[in-house]
């Protein structure tokens, strides 16, 4: 049987201009006419490099990889949103993509109207939508509010409606990007059930991108691991997930140990970041707390010594968060006895946003730097993904703290 999708040497290049804003402005362009060209520093960034694989009819393929590995770019190319720089894709079926649920939803329009609009945007014909209308409404459970403007819906209801429309798409090939991890647990279960139905019983060809490894294991038969834009591994989903988890742990050195150096008066020996269950890991759920464990030796009694940690975005130098043991506990500045110490620093959930971070740990006194460990990296991922659903990649800030809004209305 011929593959339904042949992906051949796909590459995608982005040009990063270090001087310009993310988008062009006419003002900058006009001014740059008068400037000499050579002081322009642009850099080519390959989001994807020579990615090739075939998908056979009825297969469900899971694409996994770290943030920035090129998963979403690949889906965007497959769904024709952006063209590849090199390579080609041969498709033998209609592709529909679900990169977010509720694309094009409009608050002023009623639920009924939005079903038609969204369905049409997703590539359904009007007759198709009419035929499945009752099923869609039934699945969404919002029949009472069908003629209410969408802006009066709760976010949960909007999500239900959006997913219901998407669930009844019937293309030969369906692309799904991280959209199943939204809503409450019950709704997630319903969605996953529907997806299982689509992949297993209906035999549709589906390509998934998700961080939810458990869901990927149940839904996908084959897996592709992307790493820095290239295929790092492929095979059965289970194999690829196992490989990925082993690799990411190896690379992250979940537990970082350092050889003893007796010349140092104080030295960091072991650093690990642990999840809420106490097991060391390299990536953490945004919605869960994590802790940093530092073990260090003090070999001479020192006064005014403090241990501190700084967190910055990977690749950036500006610290986002710093914490010092003495901040809340000045007692520790007093002369410290020699010995082996262990500190545990708890970070709350919803602190860091999705992304990669570098942790720097130092033992310093007022004048001296005794020891610094600089290369602890952690990844934060979002298993709930509310913001992906609002149409953003993530919350538009470095931190992901959430606050209560108390809104009252008066006339």
């Amino acid at each position: 049987m011929k593959p339904i999708l042949e992906i051949k040497n796909i590459s995608k290049k982005f040009r990063i201009d270090h001087e310009l804003q993310p988008y062009l402005s006419l003002r900058d362009s006009v001014f740059s006419l008068f400037r000499r060209k050579n002081n322009h520093s642009t850099e080519d960034f390959w989001a994807l490099k020579n990615v090739s694989f075939d998908v056979h009819p009825g297969e469900s393929v899971g694409i996994i990889g770290k943030n920035g590995a090129g998963k979403s770019t690949l889906l965007k190319i497959l769904s024709k949103i952006t063209p590849p720089t090199e390579g080609k894709i041969l498709s033998r079926g209609r592709i529909a993509s679900l990169l977010e649920v509720g694309t094009g939803f409009h608050g002023e329009l009623s639920g009924r109207e939005n079903i038609f609009l969204n369905g049409s945007i997703l590539g359904m014909k009007r007759k198709e939508i009419q035929k499945k209308f009752d099923e869609i409404v039934d699945f969404s459970g919002v029949e009472k509010f069908l003629d209410t403007p969408l802006k009066h819906y709760s976010s949960g209801m909007q999500l239900r409606l959006a997913f219901a429309v998407a669930a009844f798409l019937e293309p030969e090939i369906l692309l799904i990007d991280e959209v199943l991890a939204v809503g409450d647990a019950e709704f997630q279960k319903k969605c996953l059930g529907k997806m299982e139905d689509v992949t297993k019983n209906e035999g549709r060809t589906v390509i998934f991108v998700s961080h939810n490894m458990t869901a990927m294991k149940t839904l996908c038969t084959r897996g592709v691991l992307l790493k820095n834009g290239s295929t790092a591994n492929s095979g059965t989903m289970e194999e690829v997930i196992d490989y990925y988890l082993r690799e990411s742990e190896k690379k992250h050195l979940v537990v970082n140990t350092f050889a003893e150096n007796k010349k140092k008066e104080a030295q960091i020996l072991k650093v690990s970041v642990i999840d809420e269950n106490g097991s060391p890991a390299g990536s953490f759920d945004l919605n869960k707390p994590f802790s940093l464990v530092i073990e260090y030796d003090i070999r001479e009694s020192i006064t005014g010594l403090s241990v501190s940690v700084a967190i910055a975005q990977a690749g950036e130098s500006q610290n986002i968060i710093t914490s010092n043991e003495a901040e809340l506990n000045p007692e520790t500045l007093k002369t410290r006895q020699t010995g082996h110490y262990k500190s545990l620093i708890k970070f709350p959930e919803k602190l860091l946003n999705v992304g990669s971070y570098r942790l720097r740990i130092g033992i310093t006194s007022h004048r001296t730097v005794y020891d610094v460990v600089d290369e602890i990296f952690i990844d934060i991922f979002d298993s709930v993904g509310i913001f992906q659903n609002l149409g953003y990649e993530k919350k538009n800030s470095i931190l992901s703290m959430q606050f209560n809004w108390d809104t009252t209305r008066s006339n």
């Binding site: 006419l26 894709i89 329009l109």
Partner: protein, 282 residues
């Protein structure tokens, strides 16, 4: 970018690096329902959000007509061809001018305001500025009703050639609006500060177009030549000649037609050239 190859049973197609520039009419036809839905959404949302609703489409040109009549017709005493009542004269111009100006304004913002959809779903991008212009055409139909009422009120005799002149003038207007609109919408995606220029541009164009004054008022030969390059000048002159019973300035109309066709292809070409990267830029 996409080549369709029809095999015996299933449709095959390729996704390749962007290179070829085609009109993609076949693809546009395939997505005609989406085109319809976008237009329907824009019209619906536009009138749901105004208190007066659909009445607004009628009131807007009517109020403009009153204001222009007061200042240019009464106070300044602009002479119209064959002494046609000034309200009729100005409204014939406003009718077409509104398609052009609101079509241009809608289209130029359309790509940016729909960037959320552009980044998530593929469809021929041309649908977006096209449906934005179609919304302006819907307003025109509303305004046309008022036009007929005014003509009846003044008992103005209309030359039967309006049956040909009106569609032809609309045709020229749409070509020009489409050309300039798609071009502006593409530039607007590329340069985000360009949107501040557009209202200013439209305002200047209003005075460079014989909406409030007749073409004959311009005495200098060179100024008339410049005016000819404005496609709206010919379109308005053509429609007006049917109600003012003056001779059609054939040279003007033909030039306008040519300029609008030129604008149409220039805009389309530029849009097609840049559309592949809209998702990366927006």
């Amino acid at each position: 970018m996409i080549n369709f190859v029809f095999s015996t049973q299933i449709m095959e197609y390729e996704i390749r690096p962007a290179s070829k520039i085609s009109l993609g009419l076949k693809e546009l036809w395939e997505f005609r329902e989406l085109f319809y839905f976008f237009t329907w959404r824009d019209i619906k949302v536009k009138y749901k959000q105004t208190i007066l609703g659909i009445l607004w489409a009628i009131l807007q040109p009517f109020m403009l007509m009153l204001v222009f009549t007061m200042f240019f017709g009464q106070a300044l005493g602009v002479h119209t061809d064959n002494n046609t009542p000034y309200p009729i004269f100005v409204y014939s111009g406003l009718l077409l001018w509104n398609i052009f100006s609101s079509g241009l304004a809608n289209a130029s913002n359309s790509m940016v305001s729909n960037s959320g959809i552009i980044k998530k779903i593929y469809f021929p991008r041309l649908i977006i500025p096209m449906s934005a212009i179609l919304v302006a055409l819907f307003d025109f139909l509303m305004a046309l009703v008022v036009y007929i009422v005014i003509l009846i009120y003044y008992g103005q005799a209309v030359n039967p050639n309006i049956i040909i002149y009106l569609p032809l003038s609309i045709f020229i207007t749409i070509l020009a609006t489409f050309g300039l609109g798609t071009w502006l919408s593409a530039i607007n995606v590329k340069y985000r500060d360009f949107r501040y220029v557009i209202p200013f541009l439209i305002q200047i164009l209003l005075f460079l177009t014989p909406v409030i004054y007749p073409v004959s008022i311009i005495k200098f030969k060179w100024a008339q030549t410049i005016l000819m390059l404005n496609p709206m000048a010919g379109a308005i002159d053509l429609l007006r000649s049917s109600v003012t019973h003056s001779a059609v300035n054939l040279q003007l109309v033909m030039t306008s037609l040519c300029v609008s066709i030129l604008l149409f292809f220039a805009g389309l070409f530029y849009f097609r050239k840049t559309e592949y990267y809209f998702a990366d830029l927006s």
